[in-house]
Amino acid sequence: MNAEQILFILFGAVSLIGAVSVISFRHPIYSALSLVVTFFAQAGLFILLGAHFVAAVQVIVYAGAIMVLFLFVIMLLNLGTLSAKGAIGPKVKGFAVILGILLAIEGIYIALNSANDTTVAAAESATGTTTTYDIGKLLFSEYLLPFEVTSLILLAALIGVIVLVKRESQEEN
């Protein structure tokens, strides 16, 4: 077993433990922190894949920005420990089971088909790592349309948020 495999097992294990902790901790702050741990382990996995840029963005966007906002909201609302009973009803459980089965099918499908997948290989440069340069080039040539559509969606979301917040504050006045 070489160093890369050891690191893969380590990051994978930490990622799984973090993911399980998210749903097993009773306190929302601990759940949120477990999610941060998972994001970190996944960033580690991205680095092992040679995708340094994705790893950095993963930490900046998810661990650095989104989860801080989550913590912020949890702290502001001062959510206490969830009670053991009554939090999850039978409808939610049924829904969760369906989603879980769907996700499992998806996972199996991807695992069976990943051998033929060339999209990752296409982005790799000669050194085996995906550099920011390669990603930029691909985004502005091959994937230009999806990239621009994504940015439009983000813009729409941004404007939507501003409109919603504005309306509320005007009603207050």
């Binding site: 070489n2 160093a3 890369e4 702050i29 922190l33 941060v36 340094h52 840029f53 790893a55 950095a56 963005v57 930490v59 900046i60 661990a63 650095g64 920005a65 801080v68 906002l69 913590l71 912020f72 702290m75 502001l76 790592t129 550099t131 920011t132 340069y133």
Partner: protein, 394 residues
């Protein structure tokens, strides 16, 4: 992971040990300097009893901290309370891993870069790690289970998220002109003379970045998270002994690393009038390191200087300043730098364009603020804190 040469591993370990110790010594010196310079600026002496010029004062303070009783109050959330100081200190330490502290040294026939790791996403790494610093503050604040701590933590997280944007956008202009994310490449690309350094080409971005860095390090005028008059000591109110010392050290370490990053990005790194090339392969490396050290030290002096020059912002001023001035400046700088660089390819034009456009943007924003602010948002006569209300009582 291929088999790494033994020499590489050994030199890396030596570099890590040296840089970590330099940072810790730097923190000590910085604490001493802050107190002495503060004293000087307020026309008093400052600590000068322990050792020559009071230089050993930080060591005395450190010893005192170690022997203080380490109190963990009953009402805190213990695991997070213990974890929080470390979560602030560790990001501050590991950011230094990608900062190039000098050019390179040739020893035993091998070239050693004066940098722990030259990774190709250097800047993103720094942004990623600094964005984690906020966890220490927020968790410390929440785990303390104290309203002053919590208020400090909330203020700090809102502030850090707001100013992180400017921090990230401010460096994009540099990335466009250097077309590299590696800090070593950015430092090397800047020439030997001050007018070739990035701070002139990207002057508005430089100002925005530096200001945002002050906010990220929670220094005056952005230290609302620990505003003494309002929040006792903010997020570290409940901390004592070495746990408090760790918060304290993290603040100074953040300042040092922040200054080092600014010097690398904007102030030419280790370049100074070609002085860094004087001497042989060993000496030039050491001289470049000394130049970098002096530049960082001067920048750190600026931190103390600003502290005793500018008063603390009010919270709404802080948010207005971050979102309505710094962010537009950073965004304009990206657009102008990109457009002019494609059109002319001249650094001079980009520099002038940046300065002019930032001036226009600031004028427009200031004008709009003046035009759209009708009356004071809070009706002064209704507020029991307003001077007019006091008059009415009297």
């Amino acid at each position: 992971m291929e088999n790494l040469p033994l020499f590489f591993i050994l030199s890396s370990i030596v570099k890590i040990v040296i840089i970590v110790h330099l940072l810790l010594i730097g923190v000590m010196l910085m604490i001493w300097a802050e107190r002495r310079v503060s004293g000087w600026m307020q026309d008093r002496l400052g600590p000068n009893r322990v050792g020559p010029q009071g230089l050993l004062q930080p060591i005395a303070d450190g010893l005192k901290f170690m022997f203080k009783e380490d109190i963990i109050p009953d009402h805190v959330d213990k695991p997070l309370y213990v974890l929080a100081p470390a979560m602030l200190l560790v990001p501050a330490l590991i950011t230094a891993a990608v900062v190039p502290f000098g050019s390179s040294i040739e020893l035993f026939g091998e070239t050693i870069n004066l940098q722990i790791a030259d990774i190709n996403i250097g800047i993103l790494y720094i942004l990623a790690i600094t964005s984690l610093g906020v966890y220490g503050v927020v968790l410390g604040a929440w785990a303390s289970n104290n309203k002053y701590s919590l208020l400090g933590g909330l203020r700090s997280s809102a502030q850090m998220i707001s100013y992180e944007l400017t921090l990230g956008l401010g460096i994009i202009g540099i990335l466009m002109l250097t077309s590299s994310l590696s800090l070593r490449t950015i430092a090397t690309e800047q020439g030997a003379y001050p007018w070739q350094w990035n701070f002139l080409i990207h002057f508005p971005a430089f100002l925005a970045f530096t200001t945002a860095m002050f906010a990220e390090t929670n220094r005056l005028p952005f230290d609302l998270a620990e505003a003494e008059q309002e929040l006792v000591a903010g997020y570290h109110t409940e901390y004592s002994s070495m746990k408090f010392a760790m918060f304290f050290m993290a603040e100074y370490m953040n300042m040092i690393v922040g200054s080092a990053v600014t010097v690398t990005l904007f102030l030419g790194g280790w370049h100074f009038f070609g002085l860094e090339n004087v001497g042989g392969p060993v000496w030039s490396g050491l001289i470049s390191f000394a130049i970098f050290f002096v530049k960082t030290a001067i920048f750190l002096f600026g931190f103390i200087w600003v502290r005793w020059t500018l008063p603390r912002f009010r919270y709404d001023q802080l948010m207005n300043f971050g979102w309505k001035f710094l962010l537009p400046i950073a965004l304009t700088s990206i657009v102008v730098t990109g457009t002019l660089w494609i059109m002319t390819g001249s650094r001079l034009v980009v520099g002038i364009g940046n300065a002019v456009s930032a001036f226009i943007v600031v004028s427009i924003v200031a004008g709009m603020l003046v035009m759209t602010t009708p009356k004071p948002a809070i009706q002064e006569s209704d507020s029991r804190f307003s001077p007019t209300a006091l008059d009415a009582v009297e």
